[in-house]
């Protein structure tokens, strides 16, 4: 089964990744990631083709991935970090093609059972930072926490795609200009 998973990554590009790179990563504390928005993204054209916007659920996912990697790294990716609750997600502005979305997440509480994070989402508008959303999330470490649910023993949550994002950030921040 493990061999299958490895081959899979070599053949098929990641389709469920909603951040492009980290711009800040302070272990066990905070992380910032960005995502570019492009008309080349097919799903942007389904709901409002005359006025494409990034669906707000995918903005929540971008935050969940930024914060999920932060929470996962805090325990060396040993836990299966699963989004368990959205305390609150409030949206202030629509995000359009050409925008770069910035996701900033902070760990509020972290325990053996899970974590709570707060995050802000922004874009820039004519050089000024414009608020897009405020998001509060909770993750569960499901091996510690969700009796009654069935799932595989190995960690299916943190694949190479996610750990690579962190590697790329660390490598590029080490290269002198």
């Amino acid at each position: 089964m493990a061999a299958l998973v490895t081959n899979h990554w070599q053949l098929i590009p990641m389709r469920w990744i909603w951040i492009d790179k980290f711009t800040e990563f302070t272990p066990k504390t905070s992380a910032t990631a960005v995502k570019n928005v492009s008309l080349a993204e097919e799903h942007l054209h389904d709901l409002f083709p005359a006025f494409p916007i990034v669906p707000h659920s995918l903005i929540v996912e971008g935050m969940a991935q930024t914060a999920g990697i932060l929470v996962g790294e805090a325990r060396n990716f040993a836990e299966k970090v699963i989004l368990a609750k959205i305390g609150k997600a409030t949206f202030h502005r629509l995000v359009r093609p050409g925008d770069t979305i910035t996701f900033s997440a902070k760990i509020d509480q972290l325990s053996e059972q899970g974590a709570s994070i707060t995050g802000t989402v922004t874009v820039t508008d004519n050089g000024a930072v414009a608020p897009v959303a405020d998001i509060e999330l909770m993750f569960s470490h499901i091996d510690q926490n969700m009796a009654g649910l069935r799932f595989p023993a190995h960690n299916f949550v943190f694949t190479e795609q996610f750990t690579d994002l962190l590697k790329t950030y660390r490598l590029s921040s080490a290269v002198p200009l």
Partner: protein
């Protein structure tokens, strides 16, 4: 991926919509969420609820506005995973109108278990209300919405 998260509408009144999202391995992103354990992402369950509430708004107002987007989601809690071959049935109840939209209470079920619960507020508006320069887009958006609505109508035919 096509971003249509409602496949079928089972019940629709002025107060309530019951709709279904079926989950199939043919949805490519499932290969990544998660490898060896494909399940509908939690945010896609939220999107299904948002789109169901959107249809309820369109029904209540006879496609009164062109844009229906999530303004706020609160106390969204995930219970059971939804795997390929299963369906997520969402029940969305209209609560009241808000400044710029409406609020709803929703529950999603999979095989009789609660997959998620949520409270959401939609922003429901015409682009013309926000920026007069965009007014010409509202008619096109409304036409597309009505086309998507027509696609959702029930039933089949024998051949």
């Amino acid at each position: 991926m096509k971003f249509n998260l409602i496949d079928q509408i089972e019940q629709l009144t002025d107060q309530r919509i019951v709709a279904v999202k079926t989950v199939t391995l043919a949805e490519e992103y499932l290969a990544d969420h998660f490898p060896t354990f494909p399940v509908l992402p939690g945010v896609m369950m939220l999107e299904a609820i948002t789109q169901a509430a959107g249809w309820l708004m369109h029904h209540r107002t006879q496609f009164g506005k062109s844009m229906a987007v999530l303004k706020e989601a609160k106390n969204v809690k995930y219970g059971h995973f939804v795997a390929p071959g299963n369906e997520l049935r969402v029940e969305v109840d209209y609560i009241k109108d808000t400044d710029g939209g409406a609020s709803f209470k929703a529950v999603g079920f999979v095989e009789g278990q609660t997959a998620l619960q949520a409270r959401i507020e939609l922003s429901y508006f015409n682009l013309a209300d926000k920026q007069p320069a965009l007014a010409h887009l509202d008619a096109k958006l409304a036409e597309h919405t009505k086309y998507r609505w027509a696609v959702l109508q029930q039933g089949s035919v024998t051949i």
